[in-house]
Subunit: 322 residues, 5 copies
């Protein structure tokens, strides 16, 4: 589906153009065309491949989807794949993809399986003609920057999730649910890591070493994206590390709870077993057991039982077994 298609010159939008006009504008010097597609079908992609003369391997990657994030040069053009990660209301992660084909005078962005679009990036870019003058490479920067910035709130949600679980753990609550939540959190971190780590690695190509011609003037800006990715990557590693620690702390808490249960079990057993022993003694059938004939033998023994239990209860309470 075509989201929008416009031509730009000298930092300003010339016109919204139809697909048939793309060829005209692409051939003009100093002008570039910015096309945004969403979940395109095969025919649409083939059309674009012809319009912009895209490399077949890159188009095939976009068609198949499920690529790992990467930035590749094909001759003078750059092909970038980014993951889009969106948070479900249920807290699950939804994985989409953003494929960017960038040449000297065109930008083609293909968004797949993602709710939220990048129209705001186009709008902001059009409000900053000074920067948009840099041409298609600025659009590449602006789109990548927006896509990367959207990882932050997702990661913050995962951090908040971990904090919630931590509270449950140290309160000794619902260890079973904690385990499941920690395991799910670790899986989400894997998803985030798969989005960010390869992109970080690839990003170096756009600001260090031999930078593609088309991106050269904006090296400092691409370095800034790299910087955000490093921070995201480091945060993922830290959360991951704390999740592993939390799993082992949770096991310790479970063992502690078990230990406490065992003490309670022992304590209550004692409170019952001792009076049972006494009752057993006075249930013996000896002919000569003077207590049995006492007038107040029975209440005395009952009091003895209660007294011993009170004392035991006090001692066990003090020793924190109860």
């Amino acid at each position: 589906m075509l989201v929008s298609c416009a031509a730009y010159q000298n930092g300003k939008k010339l016109a919204d153009i139809g697909e048939s006009e793309i060829h005209d504008y692409v051939s003009r010097p100093d002008c570039f065309v910015w096309v945004a597609l969403r979940d395109p079908d095969r025919a649409k992609l083939d059309e674009m491949q012809q319009a912009f003369d895209l490399h077949p391997l890159a188009v095939e990657d976009a068609r198949h989807g499920h690529q790992r994030p990467k930035i590749e040069e094909y001759g003078d053009s750059v092909f970038a794949v980014l993951h889009i990660i969106e948070l479900d209301p249920s807290g699950a992660l939804k994985l989409g993809e953003l494929d960017l084909f960038v040449g000297r005078n065109y930008v083609l962005s293909v968004r797949t399986a993602a709710e939220r679009g990048f129209q705001d990036v186009r709008a902001r870019s059009e409000r900053e003609p000074e920067l948009l003058k840099h041409g298609s490479s600025f659009v590449l920067y602006a789109l990548m920057d927006a896509a990367v910035d959207r990882y932050f709130p997702v990661l913050q949600a995962l951090e908040a999730e971990l904090e919630g679980i931590e509270e449950h753990i140290f309160a000794g609550l619902s260890p079973r649910r904690n385990l499941r939540a920690l395991y799910a959190l670790k899986q989400k971190l894997v998803t985030m890591k798969h989005a960010i780590a390869p992109l970080l690695e690839a990003m170096g190509k756009l600001h260090g070493g031999r930078v593609p011609q088309v991106c050269y003037n904006l090296r400092d800006y691409f370095r800034d994206i790299s910087d955000h990715l490093v921070r995201l990557n480091q945060t993922i590693d830290s959360i991951r590390d704390m999740v592993i620690t939390a799993i082992s702390v949770n096991l310790s808490m479970i063992t502690l709870e078990e230990s406490k249960t065992m003490k309670q079990l022992a304590a209550y057993a004692a409170l019952v077993a001792v009076p049972t022993l006494i009752a057993g003694v006075y249930g013996m059938n000896f002919q000569h057991m003077p207590e049995l004939e006492w007038m107040f033998g029975y209440p005395v023994v009952l009091s003895l039982m209660a007294g011993i239990d009170f004392y035991l209860y006090y001692r066990l309470k003090k020793a924190k077994w109860l």
Copy 2:
């Protein structure tokens, strides 16, 4: 065993040829011979060594088998070893090998201990004369690409296996079988890793730095294989990481189950021990125990026992000990 043997020129098949004709075709410029062997014996390999003038160390590697995946240059020719991993119906992994000898005008592929062949690669290549024009290096690409693509369904099967185990773990089912399955899964991942990681490392030689002459034109294509290998490698690492976490989560679940059992044990013990104490009290032989003489002493005490047990049961149920 000879699977097939044909000569190609300018992207098109010239003819299926006999082994005796190999020498003729190999000496023609612009022509290359593609021979496919399956589980060959020593004599057949020696024959091929002579026909194509292969390096003795490479031939010896192919003869012995059980090599680690690698890509080596011997003069102008390239020798590549890939693992073939096939899934048994039982879920076990079967390890085969694909050895590729590639020179300017020949390709020799040797498949060992693998069910499924690569005839489909030959068929598809012959339908794409544009690409097959690149000569023997394209055949190298096509065979490696096919071999690498076959790792994906195997890895997906392992991912599905892990998901199955996860469900069992969190349902608290069959912890013993889960352990065995996780351990076996880890071993399979080791097998996959041994197939993929060394190949990924070796692959760099075909698209970065000093690329062998024979592969130079297809660098972008070999980079594409590298990309698939990176993705496979990353997925293996993630599954492996989750398997380790799952083992520790499984231990936590076992401990939790044990803890729950202990609470049930304690609860049921209490339900029996308290009435036993009461019965013990009224089994004492004191001469003066007024209750014993009451008309309804016995049913009152039985009701007392039942009442206490109902109350305990209610409390223990509420505290989730039962």
Copy 3:
């Protein structure tokens, strides 16, 4: 908020100057201006950006805060971000930031969310004109050195914290609190690591390889800071390693305690169960039980019970079950 603003020449302070005079002094050769801000608002930063012609990306980083530590070159100037970590009286870590903009003839330091200032650095620098002669790069060195040196007492406090927890662990005390403390300690180490590791990595730019012009003469001094950072980094890793070990040792101690509790439970159960059995035996209603008719049957049996319990107690004590 402006903390101070002064101009220096040839290692000596010329004058405290007003913000309006900055432009005059910055344009003089051999003279540099040192401005210190604290928690500045947007307007103040914009003013400074104009006064010193700072790069917009750097100013934006300073405005947003929460950057990872880094050292970046923008043309001839250097932009450095450091974390400031301060210890709460409660033992919590408070995270602030120090942003340094350094050009040939100016230093702008921006401190955010940190209690303690760097006036002492200015005072000491003014007492060492020999070194201050090196110009703005020496101020950069002096401020970074001071900021890095302040990590040491924080790390020592964390080391002391770990030692306190270790004592509790091996004394078998408060395992629950130990767990929580170890977990919190690990989180603090993550905070420290995030402050130190990226800075260490960035620091290399100031003493190895292509050093920015402005810092060239002080390479040995920046190497010294690197050295301190390596030491801090190594110490963090060691503490982190010991924390993980301590968590697993703590689990072992909990399991040991549980094991000991189980032995005590068993021991006390035995002390009650055996006399209960004996009482049960003499509660049987056989017509022919000679002991029942003995004159001293009852006291003999009571003594027997006591005797057996004494013996059991002695044996269990010796076996360390009690």
Copy 4:
């Protein structure tokens, strides 16, 4: 002890020579001397140092023994240290050493603390004059290749050992012995690793980068040894990884067994406690307990006890507690 000493020219053995003749043959061009020593004393080594003009640091290393594997150049000559690992019949590893001094026209091999010699290498080399023509470097290759190939059966034995332990673990057998065996296996892997990892690292010097003059023609052969070492190294890492997993799986199995024991304990306790309660009820001394006077009260109650126990047994069996 001198094992053998011979001179070679043009791939053929000239003669077995005495130690006094070494000097004559070493000075002839195109000829090289191959001396094999076993557990030599200090005097013998000094003699050889003089005969071949060896570097004092290398000789001292050979004298002291217990070096880590390495390959060092001293001027034109190469000094290599390899570990020899032999399997005791008891399964223990015996560590020996092979020191190789190689110059343009001599090879001195010193074997220490190892049972099996390298006479077979000499015999095979003499049967391959084509290769032996390469001179002393081929002998270096042949000896290193033989030494490295001997690691494979040792490692296979360790793999078999792990498999044996795995079977015990999953059968729930002898967890104590499994632990000891896994721990010992891990120690053996450390020994193997110390033999192989440093050698692998050093090996690069003989086939990549600046290769010593004496080894230049055989680069492809030394690369082959490297390849074997990479495979060995990878296998060690995998076994090590599985040993760690096996230890944690073993712990899970122990906890599972404990859990099962606890359930059995609870089940059997229930089978005894319930009839005991019933017996207690009918041991009460109420005057009005109609059942007591029934003719068949006693057998009815006994049957009740048995019936309840049968039912409990059936339920517990079904719930897999028994």
Copy 5:
């Protein structure tokens, strides 16, 4: 405190000289002065700084102490910091420091907080004029070699300590003390690692790449020290790895012991509970219980109890629960 001070020329000692004479000898070509200090105060260090024109940053490092091991060049001179680790009789590690300032014609060694001196190095050096001819760099080598060689016995003591703990673990003895010992051992390994790893890293500067002029001739000797450090480093890593494994094995042993205790508990409980049930049955008050009236009912029932217990004991013994 001045330990000794002497001048050397051409590999021979010229004279023990006073501190005031240092200046004379340092200015002579072909002559070098070797000064050894122990725990010097500030004044003494300042004196030396003037005598040898040392770099202020290096002197400050020596004054402060607690540096991480390093080797730094200041112009033509080399500054090296090594840790000295000595074993307390109690098994604790004592950390000292050795600071070496080496220029073309002087060596200043500063030993801090270490018992054992390096006089033996001076004595041996004076007995080897051939090597001492290399000048101050040979003294640097000899001192570093001696300092590094002293790490070996310390590490062997730690290895012996681990072996002692292992024996305790597998004998099931004193798990609590084992934990404490393993934890302490891990801390000692951290101390060793901090001494060795940074030195190993720094050592490369003295034999690979751009070696300082003063050390150039002795590259092979410095490589030998590197080699020792690699071995030490590898051994530390292996011990550390085994300590972690030992902690987890110890936990498994504790859980095993607990499991065994639980079985014993269950077994003894059974031995008491079953006779108690029987006694309870014959304590019931039914009017019609034929056994009660039998002449030998009582002894028969006692025998029955004993018989059942013997049988149970035999079965439990066989099942290894007792």
